[in-house]
């Protein structure tokens, strides 16, 4: 005998993500889910981004790592509230799920902030699959990785609203083909903006900051 079910396997996470989204909207907080492979420079980019945004926006960060609080310690220097989540307490997960974000958000005064950035676990596969209640997603790729990463991890590049090609200060020392990398991103997600920048030197960071501010403003004006 066959019993019809028709339920999404991730519906528990989807329900919790929806609850997060309602809560963040009520508090008028814009949430960015920042993802990448390990070592692409997410934390350095965040350090610089927080400094640039500080005059205009009040930010907070949730940092996910399998272990250690090293990233949280680096980001705390910016003065923004930082909550570290170590997934080994939740079974060594390879991604942040909605219930983890809900618990971490309890430690942040949401009323007091405009933008919450979630630095997801370094992984180009799993975080793409788990909605955490964010408003936008961005992926960081660096020029020390293969140009064809967008083609190898299409789900990640398909679900993101913006991409950052980081570490451009290293281009003179590498045989990296920027055109090829941007081309692959264009195939997977033709309308996604790609920001080429060096988080280390700050070169090219302004358009990224501008994009982020615009997203926050747009959500606010929608009420």
């Amino acid at each position: 005998m066959e019993i019809k079910v028709v339920r999404n396997v991730l519906d528990v996470n989807k329900t919790l993500a929806g609850r997060n989204r309602d809560r963040f909207s009520q508090e008028k907080v814009f949430v960015l889910n920042l993802m990448s492979s390990p070592g692409s420079g997410k934390t350095t980019l965040l350090e610089k981004t927080l400094v640039q945004l500080a005059p205009d926006l009040k930010c907070a960060v949730i940092v996910g790592d399998v272990c250690t609080s090293n990233d949280a310690d680096r980001l705390a220097v910016s003065g923004a509230p930082v909550v570290q989540v170590n997934t080994d307490q939740f079974g060594g997960d390879c991604h942040l799920a909605a219930h983890v974000i809900a618990a971490a958000a309890d430690d942040i005064d949401l009323e007091d902030i405009d933008l919450l950035i979630v630095e997801n676990i370094g992984n180009l596969v799993c975080p793409a699959e788990f909605d955490i209640g964010e408003d936008a997603r961005a992926v960081v790729l660096s020029v020390t990785e293969g140009e064809d990463k967008p083609a190898k991890y299409p789900v990640m590049f398909r679900v993101c609203d913006a991409a950052i090609l980081n570490k451009t200060d290293l281009l003179p020392y590498l045989d990296y083909d920027v055109g090829a990398a941007v081309g692959y991103m264009g195939q997977v997600h033709p309308e996604m903006p790609v920001f080429q920048l060096s988080a280390k030197t700050g070169e090219g960071i302004d358009p990224w900051i501008g994009w982020l501010k615009e997203q926050v403003t747009r959500k606010r004006s929608r009420g």
Binding site: V6, V9, E129, V155, Q187, P190
Partner: protein, 117 residues
């Protein structure tokens, strides 16, 4: 990478789907739809499911996975097509304004329980 977590969700949903008056009945098959772009590897999912299903009414149940191809629709010219590679540019008008219609599925469609003698 998170197939074990997915397998546990599949097991929970399957167990919840058995009507209470049939509690304890053996589940023979769980039918799943998995999109080609759902970050799940069918063989890993089957392996994880087999392990966690032991000692439940799902022990020995087959995880029947129907893979769903990636299809998209061009919002410019309306063309619908099936993608063999992750290239989301319209093959007809080359527009990049493309909506994915299928390929991200990860859902249980039904469970099959042992018929009474």
């Amino acid at each position: 990478m998170h197939e074990m977590g997915i397998a546990m969700q599949v097991m929970n949903i399957a167990l919840e789907s058995v009507p209470s008056e049939m509690a304890g009945v053996k589940i023979e098959r769980v039918n799943l739809k998995v999109g080609k772009l759902a970050a799940v590897v069918p063989s890993s999912l089957r392996f994880c499911f087999e392990i966690i299903a032991k000692e439940t009414v799902l022990a020995g149940a087959e995880l029947s996975i129907q893979e769903v191809p990636v299809t998209a629709k061009c919002e410019g010219c309306g063309l619908q097509w099936r993608l063999d590679a992750p290239v989301f540019t319209c093959p007809s008008c080359e527009s990049g304004s493309v909506k994915m219609l299928s390929g991200r599925e990860l859902e249980i469609t039904s469970i099959e329980i042992e018929d009474e003698e």
